[in-house]
Amino acid sequence: MLWLAIFFLVPMGFLGYQSLQSGDFPHFHFTWEFSNYWNVLHSNHDGGYREQYIRSFVYAGIATAACLVLAYPLVYWIAFRAGPWRNLFLLFIVAPFFVTYLVRTLAWLNILANEGPVVRILRDVHVLGPNGRLLATTFAVVSGITYNFFPFMALPIYVSLEQIDARLLEAAKDLYASPTRAFFRVTLPLSAPGIVAGTLLTFIPAAGDFINAYFLGTPNQQMIGNVIQAKFLQSLDYPTAAALSFILMGTIMVMLLVYARIVGTEKLTG
């Protein structure tokens, strides 16, 4: 019963405690070192990580939008047109989860590789220059994130679409609404809770991700997750890493609150 309190809240306290310490490994002292926070927020020329922060949120935002646009028509089809194929297609959506995260990201290395068929075709049709490539670009990182978090977007939208009473759509038709109008006035608003949930479930993990940037990008695509991870495990600079984590979580919390204000709290908690 108290497990969560012990192993979630207490660690958070320690994270805050650590983030205010100063000194070098392994001798840290608690000194209310708020400068840890200001330092990491400086621009990269001044030894901060502002660019990685901005990049994380931009990438996560683009990937979330891409997920929404890609997922909505698919789950719409599954919910209203798939008939007996419904469960099978739902299984297809969750199938990527059955392959180890790292391995399925590595598979994109094979697909987007310079010697691979995708790059060759794109070069042949002159979308890419003769030396153009997909790997180690922003495109690769964002599409990796999009692929990896796609089910988080698709499933909540599916659930909310599936709950829509078909009689409401019939009523809209009986009242001479065109299918387009019925979609925008009935279906879309009723699926809004799913969209809200899906957006959160995609955006939050995407903002903290570092696997995609690590495998599919270069140091120029590094996100804040990469920095936190490296600070903890390679440079052993725990206070900075803790401050970075705290800022990341704080920013997400603020965004969450703003989002809740816009869409209404009931939709957030279900």
Binding site: W3, A5, P73, F97, F98, V99, L102, P179
Partner: protein, 288 residues
């Protein structure tokens, strides 16, 4: 213009027009759905395909020729077998503990009005709304600040896994408990069963499907988790950490073999479930 045409046109022509439009739309969507499934399946197909590859050099990026060697000698790379064993042990143990604790939390939240109930609700929700890296980092600082009382390793990963699985268990079991008919328990008590017997014979069987679903989900999450595990692992290697380690050098095709095997087991369970649901749906339809 559209509305004018619609109000003026005779109803039959409108019907044909709408039907034709819908025909086009339906098929466009179907094509789109199939294409999307193709996109979702592509990396999986690549993983499975390259598990049969005989790589030319150390890198398993370019297709060379078909071989079964990787599947036969799946444990050839040093450390892969022990990593898998650790992953399985960890997943089984963490799932077991998390399912038990999570069910109890869910029952407490749904059944009892205690002080701090809504806080508990919120705390359960928090791990799901925090990026993994922050959660992993916070646990790591806890362990690091224990002044060597806790050594990073199997048990620290275990604690971390239980923590994130628990939330999923609570949410799943809670949903089931809310739709639960309390009269069944009252009936059992009226018939002379004590609380323990009632729980074992009535409550438990009714929430068991939700517990099983949560446990399967938890197992899958635990086996797959990298970020939190990596931060709290110390020298212990799970399968994802093994992959991370070799990815810096060259990924042996055996990694694809193991990933494919995990995928095939999971998909077999999933397909079995789809098939079972399909049949039971058919049976209930037949009964009417």
């Amino acid at each position: 213009m559209n509305t004018a045409a619609e109000t003026l046109a005779p109803p039959i022509r409108l019907g044909i027009g709408t039907r034709a439009w819908r025909f086009v739309k339906r098929h466009a969507l179907t094509v789109y759905a199939v294409l999307m499934v193709g996109y979702l399946m592509l990396p999986i197909a690549v993983v499975i395909l390259f598990s049969f590859n005989h790589p030319t050099g150390t890198f398993n990026y370019v297709w060379n020729r078909f071989t079964l060697d990787n599947w036969i000698h799946w444990n050839a790379p040093l450390g892969i077998q022990s990593a898998i064993e650790t992953s399985l042990e960890l997943a089984a143990l963490a799932t077991l503990v998390a399912t038990a604790l999570g069910t109890l939390i869910a029952m407490a939240i749904v059944r009892h009005h205690f002080v701090g109930r809504s806080t508990t609700n919120l705390v359960v929700f928090l791990p799901m709304s925090t990026p993994e890296i922050v959660m992993g980092a916070s646990l790591l600082t806890l362990f690091l600040n224990s002044h060597n009382a806790i050594q990073l390793g199997f048990w620290t990963i275990f604690i971390a896994h239980v923590m994130f699985i628990i939330s999923f268990v609570v949410v799943t079991v809670k949903a089931r408990l809310i739709g639960f008919d309390r009269h069944l328990e009252e009936a059992a008590m009226d018939l002379g069963a004590n609380e323990l017997v009632t729980f074992r014979k009535v409550t438990l069987p009714l929430i068991a499907p939700a517990m099983l679903a949560a446990a399967l989900l938890g197992f899958a999450l635990s086996i797959d988790d990298f970020v939190i595990t990596y931060l709290n692992a110390g020298p212990t290697q799970t399968f994802p950490i093994f992959v991370w380690g070799v990815a810096r050098v060259a990924v042996p095709p055996q990694v694809n073999v193991v990933a494919s095997a995990i995928f095939l087991v999971a998909i077999a369970l999933g397909l079995g479930n789809v098939f079972w649901q399909y049949r039971s749906a058919k049976r209930t339809r037949g009964a009417h």
